[in-house]
């Protein structure tokens, strides 16, 4: 997209909501399941008693986090992501911490969303069972391919499935409520099953019960993933940007809470049971249901209960749930390269990732994300519950840091602000963000305590590795930058006095003749053609040909006692440099330009090797003189995947 046209694509709220909220809204597809599953470890009765309490705690956190991010949106209308906020207010180390957490979370967003989408599809597609890993890998591959092809979803493409998902879940909720109060709500397929505590678990009381409640709570906080997306996207909103974004954020929070609450309530009414290990925990008529039992997701079971005699409703819910989850995964494919580009700008990642217009850099990011997500899906067998153990820690690391940063932000601004009304607003915002920071820190603590062993440690390890890696890259760039800085006081640029040009020759043919004529056109002080005597017969033939054609440049034959091509030229160049240290040596290398990848294998090796070594000697320039072979015609376009360049002229030189 052209920079100067970016402005034309500002989003109205009705499009911005689905664009930025698909990730957050989609998490209600797995958060209720997680709460019930965790509580179910202590048996069905425990789950029934406590699932609403835990859900309320999650909703409380959601309210606080949404309120806090509304402050972010007002403070950073230019779209300060968590990384920027931490960076600006708490310093680069905090920023880098958030960046590491976000990078890990993008990978987990893809892995969790796709796995959950596959799981939801299983409600109506029986063949999913047993093929989850292969299907999840396939879906990731498909999303990757779409993103590599450059199919950027428009707002509308995003809007449709997200609104359909809202319709599906809220519609199902409303219809279910009506059925409940008219007494026509069917029980769910797992209503008549007994949910036993996990094998080896006795009656859970006291501390153990408290710990289990905390575990369920921290799993339920999965519902908060993606909430930060709107605060990154403020610049894409129509004016007044901040107010519109804040409204959208509020709307998203209300929708999320409503959907979550409906699902949990309906699950209680229809007796949905979700077990960590269904085969042994679920009992029908005193007997475990065994390996053949297929446990559907809460949304799946609810749709079957609510739309008991309306199969199309079940299919609709299942399809749109899968769709919004895949869309959520897709948002990570957009966010990951963007964050990579910002980190590259700040010197934390290889600089070439920064160039926005460069499709290659984005492709690399997309491929890295896809590979990492596939790795997780394979290692964790596309098990949503197992993946969630790694997921939430990163989310709350970045929430906590960013909210703490916001407190600092307000404190800094309060020092300068004199207007009382503004000061009051800022103080109120600081209180909200402070509350958010404390709340998120508490949740982070709970997550760390309850999930460290279960998997969070791997996520923390990955963050630590990324942190160290990015810090190392930044330090390297700083070191290089210092080394390259010019001390204008002491260093006077010296122009080399002579230019000694050498043209490397192996045969008399068009490429070497072009190199010679280009070298002559550059009018160096000294011009020599040089060849290495690897095979005496060939050298002899070359010298004869040279004389016969009366080529007006001296041909120097370098001996090669070890039959190497590179070494004699290197030695010769260095001997010129040693004799005349202020001379500049220019080495002309004819290079073939070919159109097919396998042709590359067959050519240019000596030239490239020689160039790589010459560059280590100072006072030497290496000039590539290309000869375009017929096969190169049109290949540039194919390789670099760009439209043809208008007015480009081929041939006609040398």
């Amino acid at each position: 997209m052209r920079s100067d046209r970016l402005g034309e694509t500002l989003l109205p709220k009705r499009i911005a909501l689905p664009v930025f909220a698909s990730d957050a809204l989609s998490s209600v597809a797995y958060a209720p399941d997680e709460i019930m599953l965790m509580l179910g470890l202590a048996g069905g009765a425990f789950a029934m008693t406590h699932s609403w309490q835990v859900t309320l705690a999650v909703i409380l956190v959601m309210v606080v986090v949404v309120a806090s991010y509304r402050q972010n949106v007002h403070a950073y209308p230019s779209g300060g992501g968590d990384y920027e906020i931490a960076n600006v207010n708490l310093g680069p180390r905090a920023g880098l911490t958030v960046a590491s957490a976000l990078l890990v979370d993008y990978v987990l967003t893809v892995a969790v969303s796709v796995s959950s989408g596959i799981q939801n599809a299983g409600t109506v597609l029986p063949f999913v069972r047993g093929n989850e890993v292969a299907l999840a890998v396939g879906v990731i591959a498909l999303i990757t391919a779409l993103n590599l092809r450059g199919v950027r979803e428009s707002g509308t493409a995003f809007a449709v499935p997200t609104y359909l998902f809202m319709v599906a879940i809220l519609g199902m909720g409303a219809y279910g409520f009506v059925q409940h109060f008219t007494g026509t709500l069917s029980p769910s397929e797992s209503a008549d099953l007994t949910l036993l505590p996990e094998a080896g678990t006795d009656a859970v009381t006291g501390l153990a019960a408290a710990f289990l409640l905390l575990r369920a709570f921290s799993s339920g906080c999965a519902a908060l993933t993606g909430v930060e997306a709107i605060s990154n996207g403020v610049p894409a909103f129509r004016k007044p940007k901040s107010r519109n974004a804040a409204t959208t954020l509020l709307l998203m929070g209300v929708l999320s809470v409503t959907m979550l609450a409906s699902i949990v309530t309906l699950s209680q009414w229809t007796g949905v049971k979700i077990a960590d290990d269904p085969a042994t925990q679920l009992v029908r008529d005193g007997r475990p249901v065994g390996e053949d039992y297929v446990q559907h997701t809460a949304i799946g079971q609810l749709s079957e209960a609510v739309f008991a005699d309306f199969d199309l409703g079940v299919v609709f819910v299942s399809v749109v749930t899968g769709l919004i989850l895949f869309l959520a995964a897709n948002t990570a494919f957009n966010g990951f390269p963007v964050l990579g580009s910002i980190l590259a700008r700040d010197g934390y990642l290889p600089r070439q990732l920064h160039t926005r217009g460069d499709r290659l850099a984005f492709s690399n990011g997309i491929l890295i994300l896809a590979a990492a997500a596939m790795f997780l899906v394979v290692v964790f067998r596309a098990n949503v519950n197992a993946l969630l153990q790694l997921y939430i820690v990163g989310v709350f690391v970045s929430f906590t840091t960013s909210q703490t940063g916001m407190v600092r932000h307000w404190t800094r601004h309060l020092r300068l602000e004199r207007d009382e009304a503004a000061r009051r607003r800022m103080q109120r915002s600081r209180v909200v963000n402070g509350l958010g920071a404390v709340m998120c820190a508490l949740v982070l603590l709970v997550v760390l305590i309850t999930k460290f062993q279960a998997g969070a440690r791997y996520a923390i390890l990955a963050m630590a590795v990324l942190f160290a890696l990015m810090l190392g890259i930044r330090k390297h760039y700083e070191r290089v930058s210092q080394e390259l800085a010019i001390d204008w006081e002491s260093e006077k640029p010296l122009l080399p006095s002579h230019v000694h040009a050498i043209v490397c020759i192996s045969k008399v043919h068009k490429p070497t003749m072009r190199a010679l004529s280009y070298a002559r056109a550059s009018r160096p002080s000294v011009l020599e053609a040089v060849t290495v005597d690897v095979d005496p017969e060939e050298t002899h033939a070359l010298v004869k040909e040279w004389e016969r054609r009366q080529i007006p440049v001296t041909l120097k034959v370098l001996a090669s006692p070890y039959r190497s091509i590179t070494r004699p030229i290197l030695d010769y160049v260095r001997s010129i440099r040693t004799g005349n240290p202020r001379d500049l040596v220019t080495v002309y290398l004819p290079e073939y330009v070919l159109g097919r990848w396998w042709e590359q294998v067959l050519h240019n090796h000596s030239a490239l090797r020689l160039k790589a070594r010459l560059l280590f000697t100072s006072g030497v320039m290496v000039v590539s003189v290309p000869w375009q072979l017929a096969s190169s015609e049109g290949a540039e376009r194919d390789w670099f995947d760009e439209p043809p360049i208008p007015g480009s002229v081929r041939g006609g030189s040398g």
Copy 2:
């Protein structure tokens, strides 16, 4: 090794024999087993009756082949390998056929020799059983590592194990003969077993018996592998080269035949039984011995019988047999890259493989050979018998072609030769080679008939693929060569009229200042500094700095609506070319030279991408101006693995 010192390393016969004959001699370690195993498919009695007959047939072929190759040695004192002989006398297609066969055979030499060495080691090392594949892969990896490290075995290192192997086998033979005639020879460990025909095989008579004899014969011809090695090595002999080589070849033949005959005779006397499937075919007291039975090689069983009360003798035989087999594998690691280099010289393989002095090319050859051999070992579970089904066809393809080529050679020379004595010698040689060609063709036919289904077809397929690949490469080179040839009548070299120089600038620092001063030193007709406006802030800062430092070159800012770096420069260069087609455009790119591999990831990407694209435009030269960072100091040496260059001077320019 220096070309002019190669002469100092000529080998006396006593060293040349082990150097060139280890491969041929080592094949007696598996050839007798193969004969007995194949005959044993029809039961122990059949094997006992016919093994000597088959061995005699193999010895006959050996005598004829040795006699034929003695003619080669006299005709090509410069060391015409089978490839060269076929190439010169029968044309390039025949040469390429032989080359494909030889390449496949080198791989099989490694796989078969190492697998057999492991099998022989199993006689004294019980843990080998069940770990054959892993051990064989490990040994190949070890040989590969030694060859990559450049540890070229000296003649003596080769001589010791080969002579020890001769001592071991001939000593065992002689001692066994004495024991036999004094009646003290112990029976072998399998003497009291009954060898049943393979399951499903009835009494073998008539055609089936003849077919089995032919199969056993073609397997026994494995004894001939490696016979051609001496004819490749003639130049390494002391003078008179040809006569010494011929004598050594004869000696090798005598030794091979003696060892083969001793092993087969002793096996009969001690009742050695070798079964294709020992678990079911071998019966003790009416019961199959089952999976626990470990079948040792013939040499292993013989050593245990002959040295019944001298354990050290058994260990000695086993160790030196393993050793010579690994040495035989090592010869392939020397021969494969050499053949690759010859084929590259003739344009059948990528040209960079030709440069002899280049360790990298040899490393690639070594790695390809190792990977292919490991692949075979893994696929065929290090089973010598299974691997041999693929092996012999290639050997006889090259024997037959080379002997036919020799017949042509003599016919051609007879046309010119007038001296009667010389003509008689030539005629005699032609008869011998003709006999060799016919004999080898017959054996090849037998091998094809009896082994095609068993595995030879895979070898033939591999040869066909290599043949097609190499032909394709050659055709590509020829096409390029034609395209590059100069028509001196019609083409007059035109000197470009102007040189328009562009220096690409991203920052004001040492590398760009060096690029600028080098460009100025080259005195182009027009000189411009060019920067791409990707980030307006950075561009503004750059322009300010440029003015402040009063850099005496105009800085041109190129707009980049799509935030790409490459495209605006490409477009600009092309616009210059279009405006002035006879102008030459020189693009100067500052390039960082760094010492660590991971630093490469962090730099130079824009420059390399830009260069790759600029080369597609004609009339453009790309100049790399290197800036050596501190980390590059000494790195050239580490990377390119060479001794430091005397008199090399660092720094001090620009």
